[in-house]
């Protein structure tokens, strides 16, 4: 079940829409969790969309491992993504929502169903196959999305503020879940968050994005010291 880790690289990527333009040139370490932080509108989500294939660069390349995926459609990239919301189809039950990660035509074999059940058990939702999304709490819905990530089993995982709308205790649980899944599968994780705490707990590396470009990169631990990048310290308000 374990997928091999691969680095993600944005090579001189230029992307523009309406009157904003972003330029990214950055590499994410394989098999590690990297937090992506920065002010609203800096381009964090755009960065993830470029990796996922929802956006196509005007210039430059997107590389996953040795493969140039710049022109590859989203479904064919070795990538899973969890959004802040709308990760589930409201009219499909939990099993079908997870099962779509295995077959987009929803043709599931007995083995597939077993995998879905196992994944649900792994995220703490054992036996909830028949529930509809509206019968779940916000945290549970994100767990279903994570179960689908497990079933899909792709080497890259993109998290676009997936826990932003959860309370502190729930977020803590989810962070632990992501950490343990990562320990098991060793995917390359790109994690966009607004919470410095999240980054501190989960991520080894940090990429700080500002005004449509990567402003600083490094080990998370270094970012939170007095010698961390000034822009970052200014952003989290630790400049005293």
């Amino acid at each position: 079940m374990t997928s091999t880790s691969a680095a993600v690289r944005l090579d001189q990527v230029v992307f523009s829409y309406s009157d904003t333009m972003v330029r990214f040139d950055v590499t994410f370490a394989p098999g590690e969790i990297t937090a992506i932080m920065g002010p609203s509108g800096a381009g964090k989500s755009t960065l993830l969309n470029l990796v996922a294939g929802f956006e196509t660069p005007r210039e430059g390349r997107v590389l996953i491992g040795d493969m140039d995926v710049t022109m590859v459609p989203p479904a064919d990239r070795p990538v899973s993504m969890v959004f802040q919301e709308n990760n589930l189809f409201a009219h499909l039950d939990v099993e079908k929502n997870v099962g779509l990660g295995r077959s987009p035509a929803l043709r599931l074999s007995a083995a597939d169903r077993q995998d879905v059940a196992a994944a649900l058990g792994r995220v703490g939702l054992a036996g909830m196959e028949r529930r509809l999304p509206r019968e779940l709490s916000g945290g549970e819905r994100q767990r279903v999305a994570l179960a689908r990530v497990l079933v899909r089993d792709r080497p890259i995982l993109l998290l676009d503020e997936p826990f932003a709308s959860l309370g502190p205790a729930l977020r803590e649980d989810m962070l632990e879940l992501v950490a343990s899944v990562h320990a098991e599968r060793r995917m390359t994780v790109l994690f966009v968050t607004h919470q410095p705490e999240d980054a501190r707990k989960l991520a080894e590396n940090m990429v700080f994005v500002e005004a449509g470009a990567v402003a600083a990169t490094g080990k998370t631990a270094d970012f939170f010291t007095k010698s961390g990048p000034e822009a970052f310290r200014h952003y989290i308000g630790s400049e005293r």
């Binding site: 996922a52 294939g53 929802f54 196509t56 022109m71 459609p73 989203p74 479904a75 064919d76 990538v79 899973s80 993504m81 959004f83 709308n86 990760n87 189809f89 409201a90 009219h91 499909l92 079908k96 779509l100 990660g101 987009p104 035509a105 929803l106 899909r152």
Partner: protein, 538 residues
């Protein structure tokens, strides 16, 4: 969103546009070929008669618009100033009925009320002292057009009045504004903004009205372009004249639509039921009495023909009528054709809506932008080309190679489908766009596309709005007497066609019974559409 694969939704949209283009293009080709083949004939057709017809077309539309829109201001105002008026919701519901009623049913209802042998004939004869001649010609056309458009205009104006913020009403009542100053300072400004659009819409509906003029107009003195096209093809068999008339009609409607678009009007007309909002108005007794009188007069005018339809329909021998083979066959034909037409309309609408969304999600590019335009506003432009015009074009095009009357089913199904398509788009688009907003990235990520996407993701969300579109399109097609008037024959008869035939042979009782059946069928469908639509929007 994928860049190097064509989204099947875009393919579906292109196919839908192509089908519409073939239908309309074929009609224009027919007209063009005829004009080229017989240029002298077409040119000669631009004679005094033609210009008289054109003038009458404009004149009746202008009068109808004035008579519908000006009283509607007062009715809407009266309704808006009395949100607690007893039976207000019922009145508004009743005002929605004409929109769902086939024109031929309304025409018959009006005749059975004000006609020579109508319920009002005797009292009117006693009143005037001579035999009541019955309303025909201009007066009949005007009464029918006002019957349709006064309620429509009233509802649209009420909607405009309800955009006035509640705070303004509170302010007005605090400042002690009377009826006159609150009309001048509050109501009129919001009405004035909506008025050009509403008047334009009504004018457009009246200029393209066919059935009303066919049944209530008469003689060369009260003929519009559309009816003249029909007569040129069906009776005089003068294709050159039909071409000339059609060109004039197209020019006229195109001009009106152009003006309408300048005014920012909504050419498909809305049928939302305005909700009474909390109001802070305290009307004085004198104003109250006047308002109630206005409402009651409007109610009598709109309700009268409906009541007459029901009463005269019940007087007919419904049992015998239902047992008649020709009635049964016409009913079956109507239902089959309307079902096919509604299915086609829903499919066209869905394809256009999906394509528009898929194109809007992609990166902008020249060709995509143009296509997106077509799938968006372009679809509404079919309303510029009246069914009679499309029918006439095809009639002229194919008349030498095939039996035109054998084409009746195809023409009825396709033309009605295309005419209902803009309304179907309005039913489907909001639901699809909202669902797409939530699902687009997820589907792209999981590789759910094409048939899988339609089956697993879109269909569950869309079945209700599609049912709304279907029911509405079916009602529209069931009641239509445009294309079938051109292509109908003894072999292919729909209910409205049979109704017209019975009217023509003075079997008024039969006609009344058929009208009631048709009206109930269309109303049931419209209510179904409305209910499904409202449940969707919840």
């Amino acid at each position: 969103m994928s860049v190097n694969r064509t989204d099947p939704r875009i393919v579906a949209g292109i196919l839908a546009l192509a089908a519409i283009a073939v239908l309309i293009g074929g009609a224009f080709a027919g007209l063009g070929i005829e004009a080229v083949r017989n240029p002298q004939g077409a040119a000669a057709a631009f004679d005094g008669y033609l210009f008289r017809v054109a003038r009458f077309t404009l004149w009746q539309a202008l009068l109808s618009t004035l008579l519908s829109v000006v009283p509607a201001i007062f009715v809407a105002r009266a309704l808006s100033r009395h949100p607690q008026f007893l039976g207000r919701a019922l009145i508004l519901r009743l005002f929605a009925v004409p929109l769902a009623l086939p024109a031929i049913v309304a025409a018959l209802g009006i005749l059975s009320l004000y006609g020579r042998a109508g319920y009002f004939a005797e009292p009117l004869a006693a009143l005037t002292g001579r035999t009541w001649p019955g309303i025909y010609g201009l007066s009949g056309i005007l009464v029918a057009h006002v019957f349709f458009n006064l309620p429509l205009a009233t509802r649209l104006m009420l909607e405009a009045l309800q955009t006035v913020p509640a705070d303004q009403w509170r302010l007005a009542s605090q400042l002690g504004m009377g009826a006159r100053s609150s009309f001048r300072l509050i109501e009129w400004p919001s009405l004035r903004a909506a008025l050009p659009g509403i008047a334009g819409l009504v004018f457009m509906l009246c200029i393209t009205s066919f059935t009303i003029v066919l049944t209530l107009g008469g003689g060369p003195a009260a003929t519009t372009l559309e009816v003249a096209i029909y007569q040129a093809l069906r009776f005089d068999f003068d294709p050159a004249r039909a071409v000339a008339l059609t060109l004039l009609q197209i020019a006229l409607t195109a001009l009106v639509v152009l003006v309408l678009m300048r005014l920012g009007a909504n050419t498909t007309g809305d049928a939302n039921l305005p909700v009474a909002q909390r109001s802070y108005i305290r009307a004085k007794t004198s104003e109250r009495t006047l308002n109630i009188a206005v409402i009651l007069i409007a109610l009598a005018f709109v309700g009268g023909p409906m009541l007459a339809t029901v009463v005269s329909g019940l007087e007919a021998d419904l049992g015998r009528l239902a047992g008649e083979a020709s009635v049964q066959r016409a009913t079956l034909t109507s239902i089959v054709l309307a079902t096919l037409s509604a299915t086609l309309a829903a499919m066209l609408a869905l394809s256009l809506v999906m394509a528009r969304r898929a194109l809007a999600g992609g990166r902008p590019g020249g060709a995509r932008k143009l296509l997106e335009r077509f799938t968006d506003t372009g679809a509404g432009f079919v309303l510029v080309v009246p069914p009679i015009v499309i029918g006439a074009g095809w009639f002229v095009l194919v008349r030498q190679s095939v039996d035109v009357f054998a084409l009746a089913p195809i023409m009825v199904v396709t033309v009605n489908a295309v005419m209902a398509m803009p309304f179907a788009v309005r039913a489907v688009r909001p639901a699809y766009d909202a669902a797409s907003e939530r699902h687009e990235r997820l589907c792209a990520q999981l590789g759910i596309s094409g048939w899988n996407r339609l089956r697993l993701i879109d269909w569950p969300v869309l079945k209700r709005p599609l049912a709304t579109a279907f029911a509405f399109a079916m009602a529209l097609s069931l009641g239509d007497l445009g294309v079938i008037a051109l292509f109908g024959s003894d072999a292919v008869q729909t209910l409205p066609y049979l109704l017209l035939a019975r009217m023509g042979s003075y079997r008024t009782d039969d006609a009344a019974g058929l009208a009631l059946m048709l009206a109930l069928l269309c109303l049931a469908l419209t209510m179904l559409a409305d209910r499904l639509g409202r449940e969707t929007s919840k």
